[in-house]
């Protein structure tokens, strides 16, 4: 057995390698790779697996990200399981094909090792690349830990290829903090993952074959048909939400690890204020929540896992009756001078019972900056103050203070 075959073992792995094991376990048919930091080691690891004979996909090395996605589109149309990963400008450059994949309802899984977008240039962590494409039709899952990257990739295939969904899925993890940071990772055994993915075998899916010729992506569809396609895609996104919760429960039963499905609710039950996070800063925030709890502060945390589609119903349920919400955003929306999750939560507010909770946004961790426990403490304190009636700035650029 190859020394790099760690299936069934518990090891210390960085996020890229953990992700690579997730891909290995799902046995894709076609993998296309184009390097870009910080996801590159993930794809490199897949090449090692292939070279060592751990699995046997077609490995394609296109000349750019757009062609990488194009390759997956072809393979996926024909019925194959596919994978690629990218980051930052790679994702921007892929945009042409990225949209095609979603519009054609191809269940492709792609990891995004998240990084800031130009300009200015910077090989630095962030979430801006992934959140920018939030309305391109893909499902997006954001992860907190190396283990969660691995597990989410497995769950992503279950979700993408489900006949009620058939949408492409991004598994997003922050560059360097997760991609290059090593943590304890349990690598499932192959049989376990095979069994977990087995239900997909019976799923209905149109395949592009010679035997039943059809045209993919026809031209100038009439408006009523175009609208129908859009409507059906929206409905698929809506179905994906509950489906993802189910998959998470099934995953927990099989592997003993649960992430809460669309969102993770951490000590929220009796909480009066909620901190909303997305991505790897959640770990730090949980430590602060625990600390504050010890001090008697009724604070809880909601981690957004499924950013797209919006986990609206789950959010309404968990945020109802809370006094204040502090959102930590590692990304910006220029138009509204805030982060993207702030907009998301604000949209949900209208569905909550009166009185509405106070909502604050904290932009932090841009450009590869750390989000420290001190930052999170500030967030908690200011949110408590706001809940108590103190006047506050709705949006705080925390790192600039």
């Amino acid at each position: 057995m190859s020394s790099i075959d760690l299936r069934g073992q518990i090891r210390v792995l960085d996020g890229n390698r953990a992700g690579a094991y997730g891909v290995l376990l799902c046995k894709p048919d076609v993998i296309a790779s184009y390097p870009i930091t910080p996801q590159t080691p993930l794809l490199e690891t897949l090449y090692k697996f292939e070279a060592e004979g751990l699995f046997d996909p077609e490995m394609v090395e296109p000349e750019g990200e757009n062609s990488a996605m194009g390759t997956l589109i072809g393979a996926c149309a024909a019925g194959g399981r596919t994978f690629t990963a990218t980051s930052s400008q790679g994702l921007s450059f892929m945009n042409d094909a990225y949209l095609l994949a979603a519009g054609n309802r191809f269940p492709i899984v792609m990891a995004i090792g998240m990084r800031e977008q130009v300009s200015p240039h910077g090989v630095i962590s962030g979430q801006q690349d992934a959140v920018l494409v939030k309305d391109h039709g893909w499902i997006q899952i954001y992860t907190e830990s190396c283990q969660e990257i691995l597990d989410s990739i497995i769950m992503a295939y279950r979700l993408a290829e489900d006949e009620d969904v058939l949408l492409p899925v991004n598994v997003c993890y922050e560059g360097f903090y997760l991609s290059h940071h090593s943590q304890r990772v349990e690598i499932p055994r192959q049989e376990e993952v095979d069994a977990f993915l087995a239900p997909l075998k019976g799923m209905n899916r149109l395949k592009w074959t010679l035997e039943e010729p059809m045209v993919f992506s026809s031209y100038t569809v009439p408006p009523e048909l175009y609208t129908e396609y859009r409507y059906k895609m929206c409905m698929a996104h809506q179905r994906a939400k509950a489906k993802f919760d189910e998959i998470d429960r099934e995953f927990a039963a099989k592997f003993g690890r649960s992430y809460g499905g669309q969102i993770e609710e951490y000590r929220t039950e009796d909480a009066e204020i909620i901190i909303v996070t997305m991505g790897c800063s959640t770990g730090t925030a949980k430590v602060v929540v625990d600390r504050k709890r010890d001090e008697g502060v009724k604070v809880g945390l909601v981690k957004i896992r499924m950013f797209r589609p919006s986990p609206k119903e789950r959010l309404i349920k968990v945020l109802n009756g809370k006094k204040a919400i502090g959102v930590i955003d590692r990304n910006v929306c220029y138009a509204w001078n805030c982060g993207h999750n702030y907009i998301e939560i604000k949209t949900v507010l209208s569905d909550l019972d009166r009185p509405l909770p106070v909502l604050l946004d904290f932009i932090a961790g841009l450009g590869g900056a750390d989000i420290t426990d001190k930052h999170v403490e500030k967030v908690v304190e200011r949110t408590i103050d706001a809940a108590k009636g103190k006047t506050y700035e709705p949006v705080t650029w925390l790192s600039l203070e």
Partner: protein, 436 residues
């Protein structure tokens, strides 16, 4: 399935005045079979300078056969020859009366109809013609390779557009086990249909302009993993192949993907209303290289994409035109035979609207492009360059440019420059054929 047969082809107006060698030979051959007549006739009209010959076409659906009142005309199922059973022939003359092509003689004195029997397959007139003006068109050399046309009749391309003929030709040779790839452009509606309606009976995919070679890669690779060898063929315009989609094309070539990529080059963005592309020729008019005021069409020469593709050292690269179908067929067959890498075929496909010529002239334009060496027919096959159609006496470029309004504004200086580009490029290919 249609069946096709050999037929005689007689060159137009090249008979030497007064010559009747073909008829004499035919008469002699027929006499040896105990028959009196000739199946071929020369005709000279000196006043009009007409010196030609005529014979039976061996029609696929002969009207003479239907009009014979004694069932004495038949079309042989094996060799396709239309024959008259002399014993049954009434000598009524109806066949002569209905044949629109003058393929049957009626001899009142003998009360007999007479026609060419193609010497049962090896016509002797071919051998005796002093100017080699008669040839036996071997049907099987082209149509023998034809499969059922996967496209319905009619199309949404402009009337007379040679791209449709070219696509049909390609698909008929490729056969049904083909995945066809298109991109936004003129041929899109033909390849991908409109709305939920399509006119094609093979799997087809409409990609973006930038994703054709990669999508083909994905399909090909996935089927390869399943152990199935499928043909993946792209038919895209020059905008997709040589401009915005050139990077992925080059990438697929470098990876040597086993796909067949065809560019129908109409030298511009015709579907968007005639803008210049990288293959628009020097001096060529488009809406973005106007010929007015300070501008005289495109300032720079076209990108020589087939040569660039050959530089990728993929197994097979060729230029082709529908006006030389035998040549095109050979190239298609070679491309299809490649199993270890990529084939690229660059097709010159005139645009009636964008180049400015009248509808019936497409073939004339194509032929002039070849005969002037503007678009030489060559191939690159595993390291070897070869000119596949030698033009004996290349015509000056004006014989081509005069046919097209897009060159109408060119003056001597620009014509000379264009001629220079044509010469230079042809010599480069010529030297490559000598060097490799």
């Amino acid at each position: 399935m249609e069946t096709f047969f050999d037929t005689l082809k007689i060159e137009e107006n090249i008979c030497p005045p007064g010559c009747g060698v073909c008829r004499e030979k035919c008469t002699q051959v027929q006499r040896s079979k105990g028959k009196n007549g000739s199946g071929i006739h020369e005709f000279h009209i000196p006043d009009l300078g007409v010196h030609m010959a005529n014979t039976c076409n061996q029609c696929s659906e002969p009207v003479c056969l239907d009009a014979c009142p004694s069932g004495s005309i038949s079309k042989d199922e094996k060799d396709g020859i239309v024959r008259i059973d002399e014993k049954r022939c009434l000598g009524c003359g109806l066949c002569n009366l209905v044949c629109p092509y003058g393929g049957i003689d009626y001899r009142a004195d003998e009360k007999k109809a007479f026609k060419c029997d193609l010497c049962d397959g090896s016509p002797e007139c071919v051998n005796v013609c002093p100017v080699k003006g008669i040839s036996l068109m071997k049907a099987r050399s082209i149509v023998g390779y034809f499969h059922e046309d996967p496209l319905l009749k009619g199309s949404s391309l402009c009337v007379g557009c040679p791209a449709e003929t070219t696509l049909r030709f390609v698909l008929r040779v490729m056969g049904k086990d083909t995945f066809l790839f298109g991109a936004p452009g003129c041929a899109t509606n033909v390849i991908n249909g409109q709305g939920i309606k399509c006119m094609i009976n093979i799997p087809s995919h409409m990609s973006n302009m930038t994703t054709v070679p990669s999508t083909m890669t994905g399909v090909k690779r996935y089927y390869r993993r399943l152990g199935k060898d499928v043909k993946c063929v792209a038919f895209v315009g020059d905008g997709c192949a040589t401009d915005v989609g050139f990077q992925p094309l080059s990438g697929a070539a470098e990876r040597n993907e086993n796909i067949i990529f065809m560019c129908y080059d109409n030298e511009g963005y015709m579907n968007t209303g005639i803008q210049r592309s990288s293959t628009t020729p020097y001096g060529g008019w488009t809406t973005t290289t106007p010929a007015m005021g300070r501008r005289k069409g495109k300032k720079m020469a076209s990108k020589n994409v087939p040569l660039i593709m050959a530089a990728h050292e993929i197994p097979y690269v060729a230029t082709a035109v529908i006006g030389y179908p035998e040549d095109f067929l050979n190239k298609l067959l070679k491309a299809m035979a490649v199993k270890d890498g990529m084939s690229y075929i660059h097709i010159l496909s005139p645009c009636i609207l964008g180049w400015g010529y009248s509808i019936p002239a497409s073939l004339e334009v194509i032929k002039a492009a070849v005969e002037t060496n503007y678009f030489p027919l060559w191939e690159y096959e595993r390291g070897k360059y070869r000119i596949t159609y030698e033009v004996k006496n290349p015509k000056p470029i004006t014989e081509y440019t005069k046919l097209l309004k897009k060159f109408a504004h060119l003056e001597k200086e620009e014509i000379d420059e264009l001629q220079e580009i044509v010469n230079r490029r042809f010599n480069r290919i010529k030297r490559l054929t000598e060097a490799f």
